[in-house]
């Protein structure tokens, strides 16, 4: 019931925030913040009952009792659809990330939303609820439902409170996600039908579907259906083009949630569904997936350098970073998988912070165009220092979370496909180029003496401090995170262990 409450609290908070706008336009943001923090507190209280030994149990994917939390209620029994939520180490990390970044997102749009504040916060909370649902749902029908639930409020956030080109951006975002979501729905339905024809019962349950794996050519196409949906969300090359537009036009909180959390649902889906449900097919597909990952890393980095728009630059850097996740998942290696999980979390922090900086600049200067900025450090040293920190995090400075992630991915990948790893490592160089270029263009150079902007205040510094401390912690002592994810990944490795004999990966070896 904990898991259901986690989602319900956010949904209810959204409704209350919406209604509260009538009392006072500034009330909703307090309600939103309170709701998220309450949700976080509620979750932590329940989590504190868990011991490390409990977390360390390798969850058996087909035995719900080995999961940390599990909740199941009948929904549409005729078609085997149930309201089934469960949590293991991976989803635990994702839920924590969602709630923390949710609070950060509320803080990041503290002042810049002036119209229809109640509805805005409501959409924000509903998106978070949808994301939580995605991270927790283990019924494929329910998963798809939440997949859509998180999409619509996000669309509204971009379409209503976005910047100048919001119509195009929000529509593009919606269509990309929707079309890919439909492919996933088709794949889900086909999977259930195949399962029905072999076992005689309809079931959308993850556990049932895991037990009866589909084989043959059809499985490959089903895998592709899932893969495309998650790749679009990730976003992976060449389905990333919605991201720069959506990010650029979204309000700050929207960007934070989009970059920090929503993208992770794609990565989560890959780990949770694509690989366990279709291990053989995913393995056969992994050279292509790795190719897409590397292409994303390099392509995103090259395009990031070419941008004038601060937010677009950060958006392309996201494309580049998420390429590492794709590599990590498809490297079929425990180290690389851990790296992918780390990257999901670290990237959530670093990119969210960069988007917040972009938002602050937009709020102060009313432009995101870096050719109109120069020497902002002079006026806003605190913001400059914070930006420098996150730029360094984004280029993978050792000691910060992103480095741990990228290093683990690459070191794991190197054992499998050294040449792919070598090309992907070029991403480290090009990341340095665009990150530093961003700092140069916005914060360094000749300051414009005529204009003065307020530096970061207490609220902003507090939010940023949370993220900075988080990244340093991830960079220097990532062990708790690794330990939490380890059992899940172990079980994943066991699951695919039967198919990853060295001979099959031989094509990738030198």
């Amino acid at each position: 019931m904990v898991l259901v409450n986690l989602i319900l609290i956010l949904l209810a908070g959204g409704v209350i925030a919406w209604l509260a706008e009538r009392q006072h336009p500034l009330l909703p943001r307090w309600i939103a913040l309170f709701t998220i923090l309450f949700d976080l507190g509620y979750f932590l209280v329940y989590m504190s009952d868990l011991s490390w030994s409990q977390i360390a149990i390798v969850p058996n994917p087909s035995d719900a009792a080995t999961w940390l939390f599990h909740y199941k209620a009948e929904w549409i029994p005729r078609f085997g659809i149930s309201f089934e939520l469960a949590m293991d180490g991976l989803s635990l990390l994702m839920v924590l990330l969602t709630l923390v970044l949710g609070a950060v997102a509320v803080s990041s749009s503290w002042t810049d939303i002036k119209q229809r504040t109640g509805f805005f916060e409501a959409n924000l909370l509903w998106t978070l609820a949808g994301v939580l649902g995605v991270f927790l749902a283990l019924d494929l029908f329910l998963f798809f439902l939440f997949w859509e639930v998180m999409l619509v409020p996000m669309y509204l956030m971009i379409a209503i409170w976005g910047h100048e080109g919001r119509g195009y951006a929000s529509m593009k975002f919606f269509i990309f996600t929707q079309v890919s979501g439909l492919m996933m729905l088709l794949a889900i339905l086909a999977l259930v039908m195949l399962n029905h024809s072999s076992t005689g019962v309809y079931s959308f349950s993850y556990f049932d579907l895991l037990d009866h794996k589909v084989g043959g050519d059809i499985a490959y196409y089903l895998m592709l259906g899932f893969f495309v949906a998650f790749l679009v969300k990730l976003p992976g090359f060449p389905f990333h083009t919605w991201l720069p537009d959506a990010h650029t036009q979204a309000p700050t909180a929207g960007s934070v949630i989009l970059a920090g959390i929503l993208l992770k649902t794609g990565a989560y889906g890959l780990i949770r569904f694509v690989v366990p449900l279709f291990p053989n097919e995913a393995l056969a597909f992994s050279p292509i997936a790795m190719g897409l990952g590397v292409a994303g890393i390099i392509y995103g980095a090259v395009l990031a350098l070419g941008q004038d728009d601060f937010k677009r630059l950060v958006a392309y850097s996201s494309v580049s970073h998420m390429g590492f996740v794709l590599l990590g998942v498809f490297a079929w290696n425990a180290l690389a998988l851990q790296g992918a999980v780390m990257q999901m979390i670290a990237h959530g922090f670093s990119t969210a912070a960069l988007f917040m900086i972009a938002g602050s600049l937009q709020e102060r200067m009313h432009t995101r165009d870096m050719s109109k900025m120069s020497g902002l450090w002079q006026n806003m040293p605190r913001m400059g220092a914070v930006a420098m920190f996150f730029a360094l995090a984004s280029l993978g400075l050792p000691g910060l979370g992103n480095f741990v992630a990228e290093f683990l991915v690459l070191v794991g990948l190197f054992a499998v496909a050294p040449w792919v790893a070598a090309v992907a490592a070029l991403g480290l160089i090009v990341a340095a180029i665009y990150s530093l270029m961003m700092m140069q263009r916005a914060f360094q150079g000749k300051p414009d003496e005529g204009r003065r902007f307020p530096d970061y205040g207490f609220r902003e510094m507090l939010t940023m401090t949370v993220m900075i401390v988080g990244l340093i912690w991830l960079g220097l002592y990532p062990q708790p995170v690794l330990d939490t994810a380890q059992p899940v990944l172990d079980s994943l490795m066991q699951m695919v262990g039967s198919v990853t004999e060295p001979t099959k990966v031989a094509g990738l070896m030198p």
């Binding site: 050792p398 490592a425 070029l426 180029i433 530093l436 140069q440 000749k446």
Partner: protein, 611 residues
Amino acid sequence: MLKLLPLIPLFPLVSSVLLMVTTGKMPKRLVAILGAGSVGLSALTTLLVGLAFMESGQPHHQVLWTWMQVGTFSPDIAFYLDGLTLVMMSVITGVGFLIHLFSTEFMEEDVSYSRYFAYLNMFVFAMLILVMADNLLLLYLGWEGVGVCSYLLVGFWYQNPDNGLAARKAFVVTRVGDTAMALGLFLLFTELGTLDIQPMAAAANSQWQVGDTLPVLACLLLLGGAVGKSAQLPLHTWLPDAMAGPTPVSALIHAATMVTAGVYLIARTHELFLLAPPAMLAVALVGLITSLMAAFTALVQHDIKRILAYSTISQIGYMFLALGVGAWTAGIFHLMTHAFFKALLFLGAGAVIHCLHHEHNIFKMGGLRTRLPVAFWSFLIGSAALAALPFTSGFFSKDMILLQAYELPGAGPWLWAGGLLGALLTAIYSFRLVFVVFFGEAKTEPDRQPGLRMAVPLTLLCVLAIIGGWFALPLADVFPVAGEHHPSHLIEGISIAIPLIGLVLAYLIFLSGQLKIDGLVNSSLGRTLKKFWFSGWAMDLLYDRLLVRPYKGLAYMLRGEWVDVIYNSIVKVCQMLFVGLSHTQTGRLRWYATSMVFGVIVVIALLLGVI
């Protein structure tokens, strides 16, 4: 006492964080005390730890915590102390402290005083981590950390975009090397299963034979990292530009410590390199070629700091040469003496620049011998050591390198000869600097004299630059013992004579003017060569044309996102279909009726076909 080891990097870290958090609100006096004092404390602690280490004689290993552990991959945050580490730590904290002290006066008038010390302390911290690291991953942390601090300090005066460019160049070029090194780390971990340096060396010795391909590959990748950080060919182009930073920074980072990290890395992993003779040869050749190229370039530069920068590249080339021929101790020895005299030279240059309205061009200086005596004596002693005049510290270390290079079977004499040419050039350009700047007629008047906080470090470094050659380094347990060498007196004599010849040549050309080289210089070949050398052998141009511009062009070309063309064309097709189909909606009843009839005909025809 050895347990105090973690305190050494902790002092500068704490100081740096404090300075960052207070964001310039601290009074300058306190900043100076905190900034320089923390490094001073580190130096003292190093002394204590060093004494304790000398007593025990055993390498000391200290684990703080496990950094991350995934399967067998479990690097620790752990320190390793042996003779090599101790030498490096002493140089970093000792020279570092002197330079911090110098900076407190040099940077007095800067508005970002506390930011400067925050960065500088952070650098000391990162550098200490680099040398103290027990495993290559932690070393990599320090490695990148010093790179970032170097970036921040080169671009310290960020208002000038040129400084920003230099800083970015420094970071990106070294990052190229770093990435090669990261690949080396991947390879080593994949093959040997650990990144802890000592077990790794043991594993390498048991798994690999001399002459195997893998160690060569791994060593070449590590060498890639080393040439990046240590500004060797082909990644040396960032160092001259990095002189855009404050002069004490150049002294600390770009002369004494960070740029020698590559030397340290190779020395630290020497057991791997011993398994890979081709890689060793590559190290030696890179060192020699770099050293000669940089020396030629230094001959024709105008900017006082650029001359010193090229000289640094050249001297590190010597260290690489030493490592390449297996003269590990000599290489580290030269690293240390170089740290002393090059820091001295840079600080001397800093003093000159400081007192001369930030003038960098040596041909606008002159006659400063009497006007800035402290700077003059620093420069004189520093140049003497740099040129390896007998009985200075540089003489001992360079002599050792050249002799051991000569001993190398096969290519030895050639390497030695190249080294001698380099030594000659070194003597010429270093005394060219001294003669042009401090002798002759005055062109610019100094507006002040260096104060006490500048003079004291200079004096101390002068002393070190002279007596540094008599230090005995505790490296015997670290490196394999070099064979006894018995150089002939002729070889030794030539080694001593060459710098003196260079000194005399420089005197004749630049001071007395008795040796006329105008004709040579002004000939078309001379001019071309001068231009070529002045541009640093046109390497910048080459990279600009070959890499920078194509990459920028690519980014600019792609910025419009060509992938979107695919999706836009889908949209276009839909729109075309829409427009086309909307034409069928004529609003005419007859047209609709006719189309319906047509449809009925088709349907019936189909049915008939089926029936």
